[in-house]
């Protein structure tokens, strides 16, 4: 058990002096928001203090103080995580990056942008487009901060074409647990220069260092895009179409899948029934949503024709063209509302964010549904069919919380084991936090888990940075 110290009034005063009284919350003044993320089933843990930082130097001073005094420090962006990653389970202080939200500068000669970590994804995406360029990562939670996205290596809907957040981080400024400021990476496209500490930092969930500035890669904005809805009889037929779509040289920007029940709920919740539920007189059971990009309408038409041929052969009821800006907005708003809809309709909620090979998606979903029935828990799912990343939510409105947790634990144990059997990953983009540690260990094995722990030890010998997360056992 690591022995952490409590925040004394004297230390609190020193912290307050670093960030100023206005940006410091202590004891009773700590807002409840800082005690949880968006998955409250993993518990609420209040920090002793919150520092709303505005600069790298402030973070460095705070870390020096906390390092000398063995005070746990947990970094938090927008708090939109789902595995308790930004929740201070061992108390101490929370460093919030929400006020480090400036887009610092664009370097279009080198196709990159310099940002502070607290910039919201939606703000960066819109600002980049206004500059004629695109920041490709597109996780569903648009109000997350880019610092949070980098810390979890978030993927999102466009990963099938462009890759994940990791592929767009060129450089960063990091404050180590000791308070030392370090720059990792450069604004260049290649490196063959030793171990990549940059890539070690990406996806480390704030357990190795605190990101205070980022240089992110940009690409030219696609000139034209179109989304297409392929309605199918059921989820198995829908998913079975994905390998053929990927092989058709269409280079799709996204391939999403959704089941009928979540589409119905989204329509009821948003008041916008944008997805048709009956097509050519047949009830739709599942949908594939594909986005194609190109330089011209002619190029897109050619791709759509090819997709149309494939879709017909694979049993799609039709191919629906989402061409106008209004329809695109409605369709993607409905897709983006799925988690909000589930949260609104569900009293008790837990989640899995597994990744399985694309040709195992349908089998995995069938297995999960069967196991959920055995445990008396309902599951709802949607996700990224193009890359095998499934968002599966375990829901109950009638069970007691303890009973729900017991049943979900059994369900998850079996599902994660099945995921490992299918050569999948525990998490595609939501990360490990403290909620998925046990499943990570089982998935990667003791040796890999121990190596991760050893790396944590090198960066953070006192274990003060986001303790109890990812591979850090106390």
């Amino acid at each position: 058990m690591a022995a952490y110290n409590k925040l004394s009034p004297l230390l609190a005063q020193k912290l307050s002096q670093i960030v100023g009284k206005e940006r410091f919350q202590y004891q009773e003044s700590v807002k409840a928001d800082y005690s949880h993320d968006e998955m409250p089933i993993y518990g609420r843990y209040f920090p002793e203090a919150v520092c709303l930082v505005e600069s790298t130097e402030e973070v460095a001073e705070i870390m020096k103080l906390c390092s000398e005094n063995k005070i746990p420090v947990t970094v938090r962006g927008a708090g939109t995580g789902l595995v308790g990653g930004c929740v201070p389970v061992h108390g101490g202080i929370v460093i919030s990056t929400e006020r480090m939200n400036r887009i610092l500068s664009y370097d279009l000669n080198n196709m990159c942008v310099h940002v502070q970590p607290g910039v919201r994804l939606c703000d960066l995406a819109a600002d980049a487009l206004a500059h004629g360029v695109m920041y490709p990562p597109d996780p569903g939670e648009k109000t997350a901060t880019v610092g949070g996205n980098v810390s979890t290596n978030a993927g999102g809907m466009r990963a099938v074409k462009y890759g994940v957040t990791r592929d767009y981080v060129m450089a960063m400024t990091v404050v180590l647990p000791s308070g030392e400021i370090m720059k990792l990476g450069k604004s260049v496209c290649k490196t063959s220069s030793g171990y990549s500490l940059l890539h070690l930092m990406i996806g480390s969930e704030g357990t190795l260092g605190i990101i205070t500035e980022l240089t992110l890669k940009l690409i030219p904005k696609p000139l034209k895009d179109v989304s297409l809805i392929l309605p199918f009889q059921d989820i198995a037929t829908a998913i079975a179409s994905v390998p053929s779509i990927k092989l058709a040289n269409l280079d799709p920007q996204s391939i999403e899948f959704m089941e009928r029940d979540i589409v119905d709920s989204s329509a009821a919740f948003t008041g916008n029934a944008v997805f048709p539920t009956v097509v050519k007189g047949q009830q739709v059971g599942a949908y594939i949503l594909v986005t194609l990009v190109g330089d011209s309408e002619a190029e897109l038409t050619m791709k759509m024709d090819r997709l149309g041929d494939i879709a017909e052969k694979l049993g799609a009821y039709d191919v629906l063209v989402v061409w106008t800006d209004g329809l695109k907005k409605d369709v993607w708003a409905a897709r983006s509302a799925f988690l909000t809809v589930i949260e609104a309709e569900t009293r008790l909620l837990d989640e899995m964010d597994v990744v399985v090979p694309v040709d195992k998606i349908a089998d995995f979903l069938v297995y999960t549904h069967d196991e959920a029935v055995k445990q008396g828990v309902s599951v709802r799912s949607f996700g990224h069919a193009g890359d095998g990343n499934l968002h599966i939510y375990c829901c109950s409105n009638d069970l007691e919380e303890d009973e729900f947790k017991k049943r979900v634990a059994k369900l998850m144990e079996r599902c994660y084991a099945k995921c490992t059997e299918f050569e999948g990953q525990v998490s595609g983009e939501h990360s490990i936090g403290h909620a998925k540690k046990v499943f990570l260990r089982e998935s990667v094995g003791d040796t890999a888990y121990s190596l991760m722990g050893a790396i944590k030890q090198v960066f953070d010998p006192n274990g003060i940075l986001n303790p109890g997360k990812v591979c850090h056992d106390i």
Binding site: A32, M304, L320, G326
Partner: protein, 264 residues
């Protein structure tokens, strides 16, 4: 065979339009133009009616050349024919001059049993066009229609459900009838690939002031518009809201009470 007319308008996406606070004019640069959403509901009602009873749906709009995009959207969503009325002489028209041009041009296009309109446009939002057109077509009018229940070809009547503030009512009206449509049962469809492709290359008929017979130059555009707009200005926005987050429901309630007490 029913002959159905749908009157549509291309409008700037007002969600993206900002107003110049000094001049009061709309900043339209870079703002995408869209098919007026209320017109899309009207089109869906027209197409559903055609699918049920047979017939032809013609869409007409008055606007600049780029309004063909809105018409192609209509063709993709099930319209059979699209007509653009475009001329510099039509510019600055108010609703009176616009309804005059559309009704006069419609005589060229045929005799219509049903005319569908959106209840208002996103930009002007006067809500006057439908009633003016009903008068000019000498048609009966049903506003706020949420469901077309029945068309009787022999009696030449339509039975429709109207959605009103305090409930619904079913009305019967004589054809020709002009209807404005609610979204309730008429969510715009997403076109399939076949109809979308056809719409991209379909012919759009175009008429100008010269090619619409009998058009009185004094009743079109600026000269034909008695409505003058002396000034536009942004609406006054009230005080900004605030979030109360004191850490617990009890504390939030106490804070709210304190704030309200101050006001009272």
């Amino acid at each position: 065979m029913l002959n159905i007319l749908v009157c549509v308008k291309q409008v700037p996406d007002v969600n993206l339009v900002k107003m110049d606070p000094f001049t009061g004019s709309l900043i339209r640069a870079g703002v995408p133009a869209i098919l007026n959403p209320h017109d899309a509901y009207a089109l869906e009602a027209a197409v559903q009616t055609k699918e049920r009873y047979g017939g032809t749906v013609t869409c007409v709009t008055m606007g600049p050349d780029q309004a063909v995009e809105a018409l192609r959207e209509c063709l993709a969503a099930g319209a059979d024919r699209a007509v653009l009325l475009s001329d510099r002489a039509f510019a600055n028209a108010d609703t009176l001059a616009t309804s005059y041009v559309i009704a006069t041009a419609a005589k060229l296009l045929g005799s219509f049993d049903l005319i569908f309109c959106g209840k208002e446009s996103l930009d002007g939002a006067t809500g006057q066009m439908a009633s003016q057109l009903a008068e000019r077509f000498d048609a009966s009018q049903l506003s706020c229609v949420s469901l077309i229940e029945k068309l009787d070809g022999e009696k030449k009547t339509v039975l429709a459900l109207r959605e009103l503030e305090k409930g619904t009512e079913t009305c019967e009206a004589q054809l020709p009838c002009l209807m404005t449509v609610e979204k309730t049962n008429y969510h715009p469809r997403i076109p399939n690939l076949k109809s979308w492709k056809a719409s991209r290359t379909a012919e759009i008929e175009k008429y100008s002031a010269q090619t619409i017979p009998g058009l009185d130059p004094e009743q079109i555009g600026d000269p034909g518009s008695p409505t003058k707009v002396p000034r536009t200005y942004p609406p006054v926005v009230g005080a900004k809201g605030m979030m109360i987050d004191e850490g617990s429901a009890a504390k939030n309630a106490a804070k709210l009470l304190a704030l309200v007490s101050d006001i009272l």
